[in-house]
Amino acid sequence: MIVAIVVGVVVLLLVIGVILMYNGLVRFRNRIDNAWSQIDVQLKRRYDLIPNLVETVKGYAAHERSTFEMVTQARANAINAQGPHEQAQAENVLSGALKSLFAVAEAYPDLKANQNFLNLQEELTSTEDRIAYARQFYNDSVLSYNNRIQTFPRSMIAGTFNFEKREYFEGDPEATGPVKVEF
């Protein structure tokens, strides 16, 4: 009788342990997905800022057409990019195009004093930061998830229920870093 009770309690504790660990792993996996969508949100925010920026600069430097076209084209390519690798490359090109746009702005003192331009510049800088931070948070989330599914005893649960190891976001260092905007 006592043996049966002891066995029953042990089994119950084991079952509860498995449930808790399983739920924990699911939470961590969902956090990774959330972190990934955060990156998209910030990238989209950057796409939304760019037309405004181009319009503002146009008001002061209308004849710098090639620069505007370059930025607009790079933005369109980045939006339409498929897959992480192509995306990273397109973002890289877009960052470069924005750099030359700000270089153009350098030559127009009136533009540099324009409040709207300054606001857009601040927004763009902080969006670049946020993209970097969102990627960092994604990688941090992947790290803690991978640590969990690879260490005992969660590794057993992960193996049984097919929790797969996730990949880190490894962008081109040029693309992950913020665009340097100096004035």
Binding site: Q42, N119, E122, T125, S126, R130, Y133
Partner: protein, 301 residues
């Protein structure tokens, strides 16, 4: 960086453990001196909890009101909001409420009992003197306080200090007025009993100071932890280093700061003349480690 975070967490636990030991020691001492502790101890603990946890629950409102912080609305605080939003993404925290303290002394503090009720305040002096990366370093340090639940840790420390002080106080008063020393143990013990009573008395007298010192030690550990985990967010130690160097160069003192909120600020908001005299006694009563030491540790990361 990771080792720093781990080490500071372990030290906090060690200090919490010593607090428990200290409370237990005081209870035993009380028992020897007065002869009864069954009634005093629960009352003391409850009183200490009531006092400290009231301030814990309203920590954000109290701290913000005491330092005369105003909500940071308006376009001039755009950069401040943006930096906080970015770092919150990195930390996976909800965005705290943002406040500004109109004061030329550069400083900042975070408060609130958990990340959902967190608030962050910076002085106008900080916004003026710091550039973007420095400001980011300071804000990351404050967000780290929120993420590490330092308000909770601080409250636990204050509760422990309060408990020890109350027990010691009550015990000594009973000794004084209630025909002290004639406890059940005392009456039937020889010279050994006398020694024990004297040791217990000494413990009761000294315990409140020891508890205070431990509270300050804990506060310093949490500062170092916040430095380390703040840098973990920005991944850029030079930002915080250069911010701390600017703070060191600036001798101004925040007007509406007091002892109670001191441990929440990025550097001690109180008179810092003392901090420059590096005797261990002065050090022991500081809520923050010396800026030089924090800078040195950050440079090693």
């Amino acid at each position: 960086m990771y080792e720093q975070i781990g080490r500071n967490k372990r030290r906090t636990f060690a200090l919490l453990f010593f607090f428990v030991v200290l409370v237990a020691a005081v209870v035993v001492a009380l028992d020897f001196v007065v002869g009864f502790s069954t009634f005093i101890v629960p009352v003391a603990i409850l009183l200490a909890i009531a006092m400290a946890w009231g301030s814990y629950f309203y920590s954000d409102r109290i701290a913000l009101a005491a330092s005369r912080a105003k909500p940071a609305d308006g376009p001039e605080y755009r950069r401040y909001h943006n930096l906080v939003e970015g770092l919150c993404i990195a930390a996976g925290l909800p965005k705290p409420r943002l406040y500004v303290v109109d004061d030329p002394a550069p400083n900042a503090f975070a408060t609130g009992r958990n990340p959902k009720h967190a608030a962050l305040a910076v002085t106008t002096g900080l916004l003026e003197t710091m550039n973007r990366v420095e400001l980011e370093g300071v804000i990351a340090h404050e967000l780290a306080h929120i993420k590490n639940y330092d308000i909770l840790v601080g409250t636990i420390a204050v509760t422990a200090v309060g408990t020890v002080a109350l027990i010691a106080d009550i015990g000594l008063r009973f000794m004084w007025f209630g025909g002290g020393g004639r406890s059940r143990r005392d009456s039937n013990a020889g010279p050994l009993g006398l020694v024990i009573v004297i040791v217990a008395l000494a413990l009761l007298v000294l315990a409140p100071f020891v508890a205070q010192l431990m509270q300050f030690a804990m506060s310093r550990k949490r500062e170092l932890l916040a430095d380390a985990s703040g840098v973990h967010l920005t991944r850029y130690p030079p930002g915080l280093i250069s911010a701390l160097e600017k703070l060191r160069a600036d001798q101004a003192v925040v007007r509406y700061a007091n002892r109670a909120t001191a441990q929440l600020w990025i550097e001690s908001p109180l008179d810092r003349d003392r901090e420059h005299k590096h005797t261990w006694l002065n050090r022991a009563f500081n809520t923050h480690p010396p800026l030089e030491e924090r800078i040195r540790i950050l440079k090693e990361m």
